[in-house]
Each structure stands twice: as structure tokens, then as C-alpha cells.
Amino acid sequence: MLTIQDLHVYYGRIHALKGISLEVRAGEIVALIGSNGAGKTTTLAALSGLLRPRSGVIYFEDKNITHLPVHQIVRLGVVHCPEGRQVFARLSVAENLQLAGAHRSERAARMRDLQRVYELFPILAQRRNQYAGTLSGGEQQMLAIGRALMSGPRLLLLDEPSLGLAPMIVESIFRVIEALRCDGVTVLLVEQNAYRALQLADRAYVLETGCIKIHGPARELMDNSAVRAAYLGG
């Protein structure tokens, strides 16, 4: 579904991504793990169009999306749920969701997805008319994911959904991600919580200072001694 070939991304003079290549197949959950500053968020930003790579190609369902504008990439089905929640604090929960679905033309599909979001996150239904800024961290993360779902994703890019959240909430969110797989959504998950990510994912890539160090089935990586030492606490 998604193929990245030899992607180089720069921040000014800083070479953030040094020729990475990766693949995500339809229906998978792929994890991208690595420490802070490794380039995980940069990768997602390049995928969603927020950053322009200097060289390399990105194919989504055989279409070259490397230089498309952000909103067009979203409309093709690649939806980026950014790190740090970043919900619109001065809009209500419902307005946040409505905005994300606004670019879709079929009303029925939108309504259906809205129902699905309220099903997955009942608390959002309760708080639908509250300002998003008044929600707790976990609720905001749910809203962020709900928003991403409202855009009708075929490939969902999730950036650090567990960051700063209590373990129980993290569990419920990971359960939701699992449920999304059953809904037919492919997921590329960037996570600092390597253990949970590897438990959930089918395959994983390990990113270190802009390069892919190892990749393979998640189970194998969990057993890999180098990975264990670096990211899983030995």
C-alpha cells in the first residue's frame, strides 16, 4: 500500500532522514520505533506532506504522493494524527470532528464514521459540545484519533499516541487501534513505548539517527538482543 524509497529529508542544513526505505502492506499494523530525535515524526511529516523531502519517492497505492499538497494527500486516504494531540482547543468536540470530515462528499459515510467514533470513544459523545481545550489528556488523544478517523483514512499515521498518558488510558487506546485493524484501516504507528508497539504490530522498523537499523516481523524484533538492550530495557 505504501512504499518509501530512499527518502532524504533536511531541516535547513540538518540531515534528518538519511535515505530510509520502508513498506506498509494493506491491513497491517507497522510500528516505527526509535529514541527521541531518531526521525520518526519527521518520517510521518514527510508522508503527510508537511515536510518536503529533498530526494526520494513515496508511493501510496501506486501513486506518487511525494510532492502533493497536504490536503490532497489526506483526500487520497493517508491521514496523519500528529503527536501531542493538537486538538483545536477553542472548537467543540463535535466541531473538531465535523471539520475533519468536511472534505468528504458522501454524507452517509461521514455520519457512519461519526457514529463509529462515538462508539469507540463514548466519552467523546458525552462531551460533544464541550470545548476541546477542557478535555483531559487521554480524552484529547481519543479526540485526535477520532478526528483522524473522520477523514476516512485508508492508511492512518499515528504519532506517539501514548505520550504523556496514564497506563490505563494507553491500554484503551491500543485496544482501539487493534479494533481499527478490524475496520480495515492500515496503521503506521510511531511509538516511544517500544514494548507495547511491538506487541501490537505485525512488523516493525527501528529508526536510529535518520537510518533504518533493523526491520522485520514484530515478534522477531522483540526477541532481538540489540533491540531488547536499546529499547526494551534488556
Partner: protein
């Protein structure tokens, strides 16, 4: 000297000036909210609107109300063009760069008008219905005065509803919080920004037409000082906040008119100094304004 009818007339004046300032301030604040740009060329949208209205009025072939409607569309188009060619290429540039560009655009419009239309102020002859005087609630005012206030209120209410309930309005509010994330929602941010400029310029055009109607004159530099004062109004109310712009506009209108009305004549000449001293005070003591809660990085 301070008779009730004098007071009443001053209140009417204050309402008029406040209405005009509010219309202009809203446009400024909407653009600032989304782009963090202080658009110095905004006041000149008033000027362009007033000239277009004048052209319509003197052409005689069009009905009088067209003098209000046509400028809105023309100036909105001008605003969109300016955004597309002068401001969009600089998105992401340091804020001072955008300020300089807006200064240049402003100078271009003013001096372009000077060059082609000359500095000679042109009189505006209002249709008779507007210059008549009527009694409203016991006060004798010109119809024009009432039109200004009513029209401004209608537009402001309309805009508030628009921003609150329409999809584009919600997108505009989202953009003023975070443009990048709004893009991630699949929103074509360029279109939203263009709409914001169109609305903002359109409101300024109305303000310009009303101003020229009230003061009876049009000249290339007429929008410059009101544009600056509208910025003061927006800052007082809280820059980036539409309700703040409305509040600030009326507060400034009242402050200005009452300053002139009730100060001795040696002092009343300092009216503009008073307005800008107000600006300095607000910027230094409460930069977020009365209703605003925007960036914390100003100090």
C-alpha cells in the same frame, strides 16, 4: 453647552465612528488571527472601496444601492489577489518580513491612486434619501447615521453566525489556532485564507463607503489613519478575536469622539495622539487586550 441634544449628537457620532472602526478592525483581526500578519494595506481597502463607490454613484446608470454592493466584490477580489501574490509567497517568513511587504503593498495602492487619480479630494454626493434628517427616539439624526450603525450591526451579526456555524467558518477558526493541523484535516488552507481575506477586504470596503458617505470626501490617503486606528481598536479588544474587534471598535469610537467633544479646544487637537497613547498603554500593560488570550511571547 453640554445640552442633552449635544450629548445625543455625540453619542450618534460615537456610534458611527465605532461602527466603522469595528468593521475595519474585524477584518484586520481575522487576518491577524490566521496569518499573524498586521496588514498595513488593510486601511487602503477602505480607500479603494470608497473610490469604486464614487465611480458607481457618478455613473448614473446604476442604482444607488449598487454603490454599496459593487465595491464589496471588487475590493474582496483585490484582497484575494494581494494575498495570493504578495503574502502567500512569504508564508513562513519572519513576521517582520510580512509587515514590510504589507507596508510596500499599502504604499503601492496609495501612490498608485495618487498617480492615476491625483491627490485632489473628490466630493461624494449622497442620494437625497440619505441626507434627510429624521427623528429617532426623540433625537434628530441624518438617515446616513442610522444606516451606518444598522448596516454595521447586520454585517457583524452575519459574520459571527458565519464563523460559528458554517464549515468554512469553523475552518477559519481552526486555522487561527493551528494552520498545519488544519491542513491535516484535509482542509484546503489556501482557500480558507483567501476567503478570510475576501471577507476582511469586503468589510473594509463597506467601511470605506460609509466613511466617504459620512465625511463627503474621497482621497488616496483617506484609509491610512483609520486603518491604523482600527488596528488600535483591534489591539484594545484583543487581537485575533472577532468579538474583541467589535468591542474595541466601539470603545475607540466613543473614546475618540468624547475626547474631542468634552476637552477644551486646545487639547482636542491632540485627539490622534490620545488614540495612539492608548495603543501604547494597552500594548505595554495588557497586550492581549480586553478579550484576547493569544500568544504569550510578546513581552
Amino acid at each position: 453647552m453640554f445640552t442633552p441634544s449635544y450629548l445625543a449628537q455625540q453619542i450618534v457620532n460615537a456610534l458611527n465612528m465605532g461602527s466603522i472602526y469595528a468593521l475595519v478592525a474585524i477584518g484586520l483581526t481575522v487576518v491577524y488571527g490566521i496569518l499573524r500578519l498586521i496588514n498595513f494595506a488593510h486601511g487602503d481597502m477602505m480607500t479603494v472601496g470608497a473610490y469604486v463607490a464614487l465611480a458607481v454613484l457618478t455613473s448614473l446608470a446604476l442604482p444607488a444601492w449598487a454603490a454599496l454592493v459593487i465595491p464589496i466584490f471588487v475590493v474582496a477580489a483585490v484582497g484575494v489577489l494581494i494575498e495570493r501574490f504578495a503574502y502567500r509567497p512569504l508564508r513562513g517568513a519572519p513576521e517582520v518580513a510580512m509587515l514590510i511587504t504589507s507596508l510596500a503593498v499599502s504604499s503601492l495602492i496609495e501612490n498608485g491612486a495618487l498617480m492615476t487619480l491625483t491627490a485632489q479630494p473628490r466630493p461624494v454626493r449622497l442620494p437625497a434619501e440619505l441626507t434627510q434628517r429624521v427623528d429617532v427616539l426623540g433625537i434628530n439624526i441624518a438617515v446616513m447615521d442610522a444606516v451606518i450603525v444598522v448596516l454595521a450591526l447586520v454585517l457583524m451579526v452575519g459574520l459571527s453566525l458565519f464563523v460559528r456555524y458554517t464549515a468554512i467558518g469553523i475552518a477559519m477558526r481552526a486555522c487561527s489556532e493551528n494552520v498545519r493541523v488544519t491542513q491535516l484535516m484535509g482542509v484546503d488552507v489556501n482557500r480558507v485564507i483567501a476567503t478570510a481575506f475576501a471577507i476582511s477586504a469586503g468589510l473594509a470596503a463597506v467601511a470605506g463607503v460609509l466613511w466617504s458617505g459620512k465625511f463627503g470626501l474621497v482621497d488616496p490617503f483617506m484609509g491610512f489613519v483609520p486603518g491604523l486606528k482600527a488596528f488600535v481598536a483591534a489591539v484594545i479588544g484583543g487581537i485575533g478575536n472577532i468579538a474583541g474587534a467589535m468591542l474595541g471598535g466601539y470603545l475607540l469610537g466613543f473614546a475618540e469622539v468624547f475626547f474631542v467633544a468634552f476637552m477644551p479646544s486646545e487639547i482636542s487637537g491632540y485627539r490622534d495622539a490620545f488614540v495612539f497613547a492608548l495603543l501604547l498603554v494597552v500594548l505595554l500593560l495588557r497586550p492581549t487586550g480586553l478579550l484576547g488570550a493569544h500568544e504569550a511571547s510578546r513581552a
